[in-house]
Subunit: 198 residues, 2 copies
């Protein structure tokens, strides 16, 4: 099909977004084309605003539009407890539990020698400084349960433990509401290992 | 999670796009946030360009950045054969066959009393004028094989046949490469009805 050039260019740009393929990009482009100009303008403004206003917290690297972020400045949070995550969006997953009242530290990735990501590419120095400054009791390592996340957690544990604080790792096991039927063997092994007295 | 306000607004705007849910919108927003400003600018420009440059062909209603469109002005196409489709993106599906050498007429929808779409809301008048002006041998009704598309095809057939031209409907049946196992009974019935001598 010979799409008008500007439409083809929009499809091309949309296809660069994660999880959007050729068909999806075309559907989005036609939607933008068909809908009122004001809708497109609102989207455009929202994209620009995000690039202009959102920044990273100089303490924990979480995304924020005030620096330091709401967690790092909150008197209601327990600053003796730091939860370490890989990406800013992981903070939301922990917050959703409504159980965690500590603060965060975002690494901005995980160790991955295959992709050329070493310790210096992650925000590890800042974490060590925060712990080194004293006043921290426990660091919860909530990196992903992947090869990279596990390696990162192990690496951090080796650095943090000598500082005399408690270092913990989130539990791995069968997801709540799931069925054993669908659990892979590694997860099942972890679930068995992590079993607790009822 | 308390997302920075501008990020929350981008998520909200992205969620309005078709096929993008809450999780998908958040993933896209974080992607836009993380990637270089130039990428975001290119996307923004592409969206604006589409809204500014793309228009509809005054003859066939297909999207175009020149009016009339490439199909309507092409000497290589057979202007005696008009393929009627519901939406501009359907033109691409027909073009991909590389078999059709006629021209198009886009209705901009299908009859749907439930959604308040009547004949006056579709580009039917223009089609009747094109056929009425003479020189058209056949109109292929390629509206969707849905209740609305079928109703539209029947409605158009009734209007077009008295004009003394050939009016045809695309075949419905089992998709090529598919398995009878997955065919619903309506499609199977259509496939049986439409059977041809081998």
């Amino acid at each position: 099909m010979s799409l008008p050039e500007s439409l083809a260019r929009l499809v091309e740009q949309l296809q660069k977004l994660p999880g959007i393929g050729a068909k999806g990009a075309q559907r989005l482009a036609f939607h933008i084309l068909k809908n009122p100009r004001e809708d497109a303008e609102r989207l455009v403004e929202a994209i620009r605003d995000v690039k202009e206003r959102v920044t990273y917290c100089s303490t924990c690297n979480n995304i924020t539009d005030t620096d330091p972020c709401v967690y790092c400045t909150s008197a209601a949070r327990d600053h003796k407890l730091i939860c370490v995550v890989e990406e800013p969006q992981n903070v939301g997953v922990v917050e959703k539990t409504r159980e965690f009242r500590g603060v965060y530290h975002v690494l901005m990735g995980a160790l991955s020698p295959l992709h050329g990501v070493g310790p210096d590419d992650l925000k590890i120095k800042g974490l060590l400084e925060r712990v080194g400054a004293g006043g921290v009791d426990e660091v919860i390592l909530a990196t992903n349960p992947t090869v990279e996340g596990e390696a990162t957690a192990l690496y951090l544990a080796r650095l943090l433990k000598p500082l005399g604080i408690r270092v913990t790792r989130i539990a791995m096991g069968i997801p709540v509401g799931s069925d054993l039927e669908y659990a892979d063997e590694v997860t099942m092994t972890r679930a068995m290992e992590g079993r607790r007295e009822v």
